[in-house]
């Protein structure tokens, strides 16, 4: 088992090949995606799923239509509650803002609950560079922090590891005695993390949704680490992507319901922590200082570029779990913080540094399973198609592909050239097929990847149109 840090900056092809050849990854993905997909089907099946999906969709579309107003309302409410609101245009802005907050409050140690937005902007690294100690407290995130790996799933960050791998990491990093008992492993993590919670001055979390009308930031967790992150340290910072917004408390529970059922297949999560600002006089707990940092990082442009639909995403991960491509290669092969179908749509749009990002829209067979699973009915295949168009328009295709497609289009625009190409193809492919016993088993050049694992039949000796014309001729003779 290799536990060295995974290098996301490798070329796309290398990342995919590595993933396809990783047997442990295959086992881990099979176990987890199958289970999560099954639980989602059951949990969504227990309610009026079409209605719930339609309602969530409507609500998220409303959010996008009234985005600026809602953001302003959120800022006003949070401020009125005694919190501070910061706006981060780019990753560097967010890093600067959070480091600043930590400096001012004399922070040495930070505990973090799960947040993809902070992963997106590499906040941990920035904090560490500023001399702070950062401890991830979500169990999955904690494991990959120990292993020095990035998350590979937006909900289950350590999905790429089997319990055997996790035990090995704990034995190595925390001197855990050998065991495969998940309870024992969790107990070890709990023991370590409890001390960190009690000694940290600052907590940072993401935000599953923020309620504009009340200025409340909500985090949905199952481990209780979110609650401790938001209440124990003196300072609490929420990092939120601009789109994670709902207008009202009712809308929050609508999204909550869709999120829990679609991500983990639960009716509701174990914890839902709602923070509406710092501790008020008379409150028994809560942070003394509360900050909300809103992150753009390309999200506003996304709406302008016509990919606004992807901003309706509630990050449930259902599309990853049902994606047959994700199931084969896992998250790291995408080379981005966001993987799976939604990752392939978001990554080229927001400001992320992803090697071979142009390849991501093509990492899909366009089977549509993601759209069927998505609780917000996001038409991911449509956007993947449009992103492919964008790649070609931006001269991202190879010269060979371009020439091939132009040739193909030319040929298909004329009946006679189509028919002669067919005749020629039939002759050539039948000669080749005869050599290899009926099927084509080896093709040269660009088609060789096909025959590397698959046979191909030759073209028919007599096309359908030939047979059709013969039949017509025969009928005429009879008459």
């Amino acid at each position: 088992m290799s536990t060295s840090a995974i290098d996301l900056s490798l070329p796309y092809k290398k990342r995919v090949d590595d993933a396809l050849h990783n047997q442990q990854l295959k086992v881990a993905l099979d176990r987890a995606t199958g289970r999560m997909a099954g639980q989602r089907v059951a949990a969504m099946g227990a309610v009026d799923a079409p209605r719930l999906r339609a309602q969530v969709r409507q609500m998220k579309e409303h959010v996008l239509r009234t985005w600026p107003e809602l953001l302003e309302q959120l800022e006003t409410q949070v401020t009125a509650n005694g919190g501070h609101v910061h706006w981060a245009k780019e990753a560097a802005d967010l890093q600067r803002i959070v480091v600043e907050i930590a400096r001012k409050a004399n922070v040495q140690k930070v505990v973090k609950a799960k947040s993809m937005a902070t992963e997106e902007v590499h906040l941990n690294q920035a904090l560490q560079r500023a001399g702070l100690k950062v401890v991830e407290t979500d169990l999955g995130e904690y494991i990959i922090q120990l292993a020095g790996e990035p998350p590979s799933h937006i909900v289950a960050p350590v999905i790429h590891r089997r319990v055997e791998d996790i035990a090995a990491i704990f034995q190595r990093e925390l001197d855990m005695p050998p065991t495969l008992d998940p309870q024992v492993i969790c107990g070890v993590a709990r023991g370590v993390l409890r001390k960190e919670f009690l000694s940290a001055e600052m907590g940072i979390s993401g935000c599953n949704f923020a309620i504009a009308e009340t200025g409340t930031c909500c985090i949905v967790t199952n481990e209780g680490n979110g609650r401790m992150t938001s209440t124990l340290p003196r300072v609490y910072v929420v990092v939120m992507g601009l789109e994670k917004l709902v207008p009202t408390v009712e809308d929050a529970f609508l999204q909550y319901q869709a999120l829990c059922r679609s991500s983990t297949g639960q009716q509701c999560s174990v914890y839902l922590s709602m923070t509406s600002g710092p501790r008020k006089p008379g409150d028994v707990d809560g942070p003394e200082e509360f900050h909300l940092v809103l992150l753009d990082n390309g999200r506003l442009d996304m709406l302008a570029k016509g990919y606004g639909e992807a901003l309706c995403c509630i990050r449930c991960g259902a599309c990853l779990n049902v994606c047959p491509v994700y199931r084969e290669i896992g998250g790291h092969a995408y080379g981005s913080t966001y993987s799976g179908p939604i990752g392939a749509v978001i990554s080229p749009n927001i400001h992320l540094e992803v090697t071979d990002v142009d390849k991501l829209p093509y990492a899909s067979s366009l089977c549509g399973a993601c759209r069927d699973a998505c609780p917000v009915q996001i038409d991911l295949p449509r956007m993947l198609l449009e992103l492919r168009r964008d790649v070609v328009e931006a001269e991202g295709a190879t010269l060979f592909d371009r020439a091939a497609m132009q040739g193909f289009s030319k040929m298909m625009q004329s009946r006679s050239s189509y028919e002669s190409a067919g005749k020629l193809g039939s002759l050539a492919s039948n000669v080749l097929a005869r050599l290899s016993g009926g099927n084509l088993t080896f093709l040269p050049g660009p088609l060789s990847p096909w025959t590397a694992s698959r046979d191909l039949p030759p073209l028919a000796r007599h096309s359908f149109r030939e047979q059709w014309q013969q039949r017509r001729a025969a009928r005429k003779q009879i008459v």
Binding site: L366, G368, S409, M412, Q413, S426, A452, D455
Partner: protein, 282 residues
């Protein structure tokens, strides 16, 4: 799905959109399609100008290359409909039907005059099993099959067109077939057009899952509605020496396929010479 045209009286004459793959590689599927349509009292015309609907280029992002093919397709079929020379267009493919009746909307959105014509065409373009069941109301099919049969739902058919009940209903009518269940019948086989070549590793891994499920199902034949997925599944099955084969549903329904139980050969007239073992040699 896009609103389909309804017919007060059964359609009498349809144009066959045979698709380029069936035309050039699997003419027998086209023949079976014609046979099925004619068997149910529908006259078939075949516009010889038709070539490819442009899907390969469209899916690869080459929309400028796909667009002339889309326009051409509309120019060939739409006038036949408009002038009532035909009542519908029928294709033995979920994928190509989805392309012409679904994705043309996206592709031709800004071509003057075309969106309306494409919409008219889309409403009267049907995938074969959809046409047989939903439009013609076919209940019984006169087909026999001796062997174990199962069904794979191709992605575009299932998730773009929402067609699943129709092919399954038709297959249930096939006499003598032993129906076996296929795990993950609605999962992608990994074809995905150029995806199969450009991402051949992932595509093959996906296809291998399909192969494993097919082998476990112990089916002799898996019927499906798209020759593209059929090519992919058969390519893997054949390479791996598996007995099971994917067959287009039209061929099953038109009785082109049969897996008769292999009867034992006649016993040899002379008793076989006693097999010799190496130990026996002196």
């Amino acid at each position: 799905m896009a609103d389909k045209r309804t017919y007060s009286s059964p359609p009498r004459r349809v144009a066959l959109f045979v698709t380029c793959m069936v035309d050039m590689i699997y003419p027998e599927v086209g023949v079976a399609t014609v046979e099925l349509l004619e068997r149910h009292g529908v006259e078939v015309v075949f516009p010889l100008e038709q070539t490819c609907c442009g899907q390969p280029a469209f899916n690869a992002g080459f929309w400028d290359e796909a667009r002339p093919l889309a326009r051409r397709f509309v120019d060939i079929f739409e006038p036949l409909l408009r002038t009532k020379q035909i009542d519908a267009v029928v294709a033995p493919s979920g994928s190509c039907t989805a392309m012409t009746s679904h994705f043309y909307r996206q592709l031709l959105a800004e071509e003057p005059g075309y969106p309306e014509r494409a919409a008219l065409l889309a409403a009267a373009t049907f995938e074969l099993t959809e046409f047989l069941v939903d439009v013609l109301g076919v209940e019984g099919v006169d087909a026999q099959f001796t062997g174990r049969l199962t069904y794979h739902g191709c992605c575009h058919l299932l998730r773009e067109l929402g067609i699943d009940r129709q092919p399954r209903a038709l297959l249930q009518q096939v006499d003598g077939a032993e129906w076996v269940a296929l795990n993950g019948a609605e999962e992608c086989c990994g074809f995905g057009g150029l995806f199969a070549v450009k991402n051949s590793g992932i595509s093959t891994a996906m296809g291998n899952r399909k192969v494993q499920n097919l082998v476990r199902s112990d089916a002799d034949v898996v019927a499906l509605c798209d020759v593209s997925c059929m090519t992919h599944i058969n390519g893997l099955l054949s390479r791996q020496g598996e007995r099971c084969r994917a067959v287009h549903i039209a061929q099953v329904l038109a009785n082109q396929v049969d897996v008769r139980p292999r009867t034992l050969p006649e016993p040899p007239a002379q008793p076989l010479e006693k097999p010799r073992r190496w130990q026996d040699t002196t």
